[in-house]
């Protein structure tokens, strides 16, 4: 137990928002290094491989940004709901259903001119993801069923539903594996290769595509929505103190529903990247844990778009660099990076106050000394 009392108003913003998160991240990475060591590999070599894999060559870097795109969506999804004190851990299922939305719109409206079909497909992804989040939101607000359990259950249900659809309803009947037909090539989102010529670089293939810009736009969208609109204020009020919000005439029910639907919609946008941008078809299990990683991204980024961008980038590095590590180190599988995510959530979320009082009082004392001197 620490008994250090710090006057919050005297703590500079960069100490609580930059120094403390960096210390927490360092702790998480140190423990991760220990796990790599227990698994029988050299942690320092692993770090070198991660840096080479994610920055060392242009294709690797493109992959890093492609993963970053996914993490921006799922990170924002968790953050929006969190501002209303809702734990949306159903990003995985919402992304899965969002993918269905993209595919259904794109395949049925592929005759439309290109920018219009893209916009409609993006809308479809958002709508489907939002719809999948609506039911847990409704049950939380009206029936008090805890949103953590219902969203987790909706992940399982989404997975069963999608497997059913992929096997029995929308499967490409010419193939054995459960996936759909490919979308017509005219409506694929242009990938990074298309632009790389303009930039004067040449690469073979990269999954990075135009969705990256959509992700950046989403960061602005969320910032504007949560901090600059009346609704964002109401939502944060409900999250901060529901009783006070009710007293101020704000409806918790309405805000819970809107927060969860926007959250689910943002998670659904992952489907745009994966289906309209990369694989052009729905494959079983395509959200591949990105939804869960979003929790770590959001908590590391302190649920603010300015923090989520670097956090998503860091996880992009970990994912892309991590695949380099799993190539080179037989004892490390991609699950090691799932464990790293858990540690990052632990240290930057649950244990964020571990060293905060010490660090803050250290800086406050130093600054006081400078002022007095």
């Amino acid at each position: 137990m620490s008994n250090i009392v710090v006057d919050k108003s005297k703590v500079p913003w960069w100490v609580s928002n930059v120094i403390v998160p960096l210390v927490n991240l360092t702790l998480a990475l140190l423990v991760s290094g220990l796990f790599v060591f227990i698994a029988g590999e050299n942690p320092i070599e692993a770090v070198k491989l991660i840096i080479y894999g994610s920055f060392g060559y242009i294709q690797g870097f493109a992959y890093t940004l492609y993963y970053t795109t996914n993490f921006i969506f799922t990170g924002l999804a968790f953050a929006v709901a969190f501002h209303c004190r809702l734990f949306n851990i159903g990003g995985e299922g919402q992304a899965y259903i969002g993918g269905l939305g993209v595919f259904l719109v794109a395949i049925n409206l592929s005759f439309l001119p290109v920018p219009i079909v893209w916009l409609l497909a993006i809308f479809g992804a958002f709508l489907f993801g939002a719809a999948w989040a609506y039911i847990p939101a409704y049950l939380q607000s009206k029936r008090g069923s805890h949103v953590v359990i219902t969203t987790i259950m909706f992940n399982f249900i989404a997975s069963s539903l999608m497997i059913f659809l992929l096997v029995d309803v929308i499967r490409d009947t010419n193939q054995m594996a459960p996936h759909t037909v490919k979308l017509p090539e005219e409506i694929w989102l242009p990938s990074f290769e298309a632009f790389s010529g303009i930039l004067g670089i040449k690469i073979r293939y990269s999954p990075l595509n135009l969705t990256f810009l959509l992700a950046i736009a989403s960061l602005f969208f969320v910032w504007f929505l949560v901090w600059k609109t009346k609704w964002g204020y109401e939502m944060r009020a409900v999250g901060h103190n529901t009783q006070a919000a009710i007293y101020a005439g704000i409806s918790p029910h309405k805000n819970i529903i809107i927060a969860m639907c926007i959250s689910g919609g943002l998670a659904g946008l992952l489907g745009v990247n994966e289906i309209l941008g990369v694989s052009h078809k729905i494959q079983a299990g395509f959200p591949a844990g990105y939804g869960f990683t979003g929790i770590a991204v959001a908590l590391m980024g302190r649920n603010h778009p300015i923090g989520i961008l670097p956090a998503a980038f860091l996880f992009g590095i970990l994912y892309q660099g991590g695949s380099e590590v799993t190539f080179e180190m037989p004892n490390i599988t991609r699950y090691m990076f799932v464990a790293v995510q858990g540690l990052i959530i632990l240290f930057s979320g649950a244990l964020e106050n571990l060293f905060r009082p010490q660090i803050e009082s250290f800086f406050v004392r130093r600054l006081n000394r400078e002022v007095n001197a």
Partner: protein
Amino acid sequence: MEFLSDIASLINSTLRISTPLVFAAMAGIFAERSGVIDFSLEGKMLMAAFVAAVGSYYLGNPWLGLLLAIIVCVCLSMLHGFASVTHKGDQVVSCVAINILIIGLTTALAAAWFGQAGLTPTLNEDQRFLEIHLPFADALRDIPVIGTLYSDILSGHYVFVYLAYLSVPLVFWVVFKTSFGLRLRAVGENPSAVDTAGINVFTMRYKALAINGVLIAFAGAHLSTAVNANFFREMSAGRGYLALAAMIFGKWHPKTALIACLLFGFTDALQIRLQGVELPAIGEIPVQLIQALPYILTVVLLAGFVGKAIAPNAIGQPYIKER
């Protein structure tokens, strides 16, 4: 008698399938009655399954594997307490962290140590728990009704099945009939009043979490050293969450939680039998829908079609002692 033996085997598998849920729900009751949310039942169950399987593989004795699992689960509970009781971190975040950490760690370590994709080596008969055949089970089998009840339903389970159902009255007694239980419930309802009475809120919550760790270890060991002979990736398959839902549905009470667990177990047992069966008028139900039944049931039950659940008053709030 075809029908009767079908029913008997359905009840038999219900009892077996409900076992980890019962342990987990009882573990959940201790944590949540003391005011600490525990979504990390899922992760702890998975960790217990991993540790029990690895432990009994190396030590050659399933009881030693269970002991190791208990130690590790109590440590994880302490970690949850350290984050959410001592450092007043968010309890749900702490649970989510533990769950994701364990999913990754167990699979990664299984791959690193045994070279198989998230599997531990198959345990032989000495390294795992075997079914217990009650005395005279074979002799009594042919007696109608009693024979079926005794030989086909009561006999032939793993030790954990008996322990799970014995734990329910025990938990009831501890929580509702002892002074420890009174303090436990008081800490979850009104911690400041308990503090005024000179009882340490933090110590009480840590004690509750320690018991929680012991109980959840049994659930994991049941999965990997009894019903299965090894650990595999994500083998807890949402059971921790189902148990939590059962506990909430059972209003944080051992007896009603037990009934909810049995209901989940029964749905799961039925789900296995329904696969591939042609139902009159409906035809064959898609296997994915049947597999999703326990999860759908959870949502339906939680939606409170049978009355709204009231949680312990101070749940989820870190206790801050006034200075």
